[in-house]
Symmetry: C2
Subunit: 188 residues, 2 copies
């Protein structure tokens, strides 16, 4: 067949891959699983990605870029560091609540990405963390940078915990809860 829904397929594979990798892990998902999830057979995947690794890499690079771009944009609109922190928190929480599979894959499967693309993801992640450290440094100049970085990482753990404990609360309620907890933890 050849219904020309070209890059609809590609992004459908990306989304289905994120979902499957999030719930069963990279090695727990077969090419056949991925194909079936988008209504084709397994090998059709190779028309869109050179291999399973490359599919995972595409997912991770995409989410890392989107996180960083979102942070950059929000910071540009918030000159006041206090507002900036709220903006970063709101952005991250929205991402975690609306795309839990992407967040899960993003902080679990980096080791399965081929080295070359792994370096790209790591650089994007580092830049994202630096956005947070920069804002925190303005709010708490008394705390050394290394400690602020550790705080940022720990807070990501808090915000990213949503996928594992989902369903308990309504989305809006969860959002305000996570933002207030994150803010309190960061400024403690």
């Amino acid at each position: 067949m050849g219904t020309h829904e070209t890059s609809t397929r590609r992004s459908a594979i990306l989304m289905a891959g994120a979902e499957l990798f999030a719930t069963r892990g990279f090695h727990g998902v077969s090419i056949e699983d991925l194909g079936r999830a988008v209504g084709t057979t397994g090998p059709a995947l190779y028309r869109h990605f050179p291999g399973k690794d490359a599919l995972l890499a595409a997912i991770l690079i995409d989410v890392s870029e989107r996180l960083l771009a979102g942070a950059d944009e929000r910071l540009r609109g918030s000159p006041d560091p206090d507002d900036a922190l709220d903006a970063l928190l709101a952005g991250h929480v929205e991402f975690a609540l609306t795309e839990p599979a992407l967040i899960t894959v993003h902080d679990r499967e980096l080791d399965n990405v081929p080295p070359e693309q792994r370096r790209i993801v790591r650089r994007l992640q580092r830049q994202y963390v630096e956005c947070w450290v920069r804002v925190l440094g303005q709010l708490r100049p008394d705390i050394p940078e290394g400690r602020l970085r550790a705080k940022a990482h720990a807070t990501f753990g808090l915000l990213n915990s949503t996928p594992h404990s989902a369903g308990d609360l309504a989305l809006a309620e969860m959002s305000t809860l996570l933002r207030s907890m994150g803010r309190a933890a960061l400024l403690a």
Copy 2:
């Protein structure tokens, strides 16, 4: 061979398994890998566990039991809810910092445990969460229980983030940092 270091082997396999599962995921570790990690060949594992699933189950049940037992004991020694919360935080942080592999496997690989033992793990985890909810309920009777449970889960995400961002800070410094962040987040 038959050097009678009987259950040394068994616990060595458990520890090596936790380490390997934590870094490469359950499906990313082979029986041969597990054997090699304890100085034997792969199939020797079947003298100690009926299968790969059972090994994972043993790891998860053990860590869940130890977490719960630690929480119970610490609560018994802290009648004041404020001290109790500190005790729970200190216990969880110590666990996360001294056995990061166990913590990682504990909240990532439950889906790969056979159903029967998975129920056991889930019950232990639920009891552990209830320890936290009970203490939080005394400190913040204004907050509904469901919200407190969500807070506890999010805080676990914060405390368990250590394995992924390790190496940045000294252990003692990380411990105080995580405890203060966790406390601030929970009481926010």
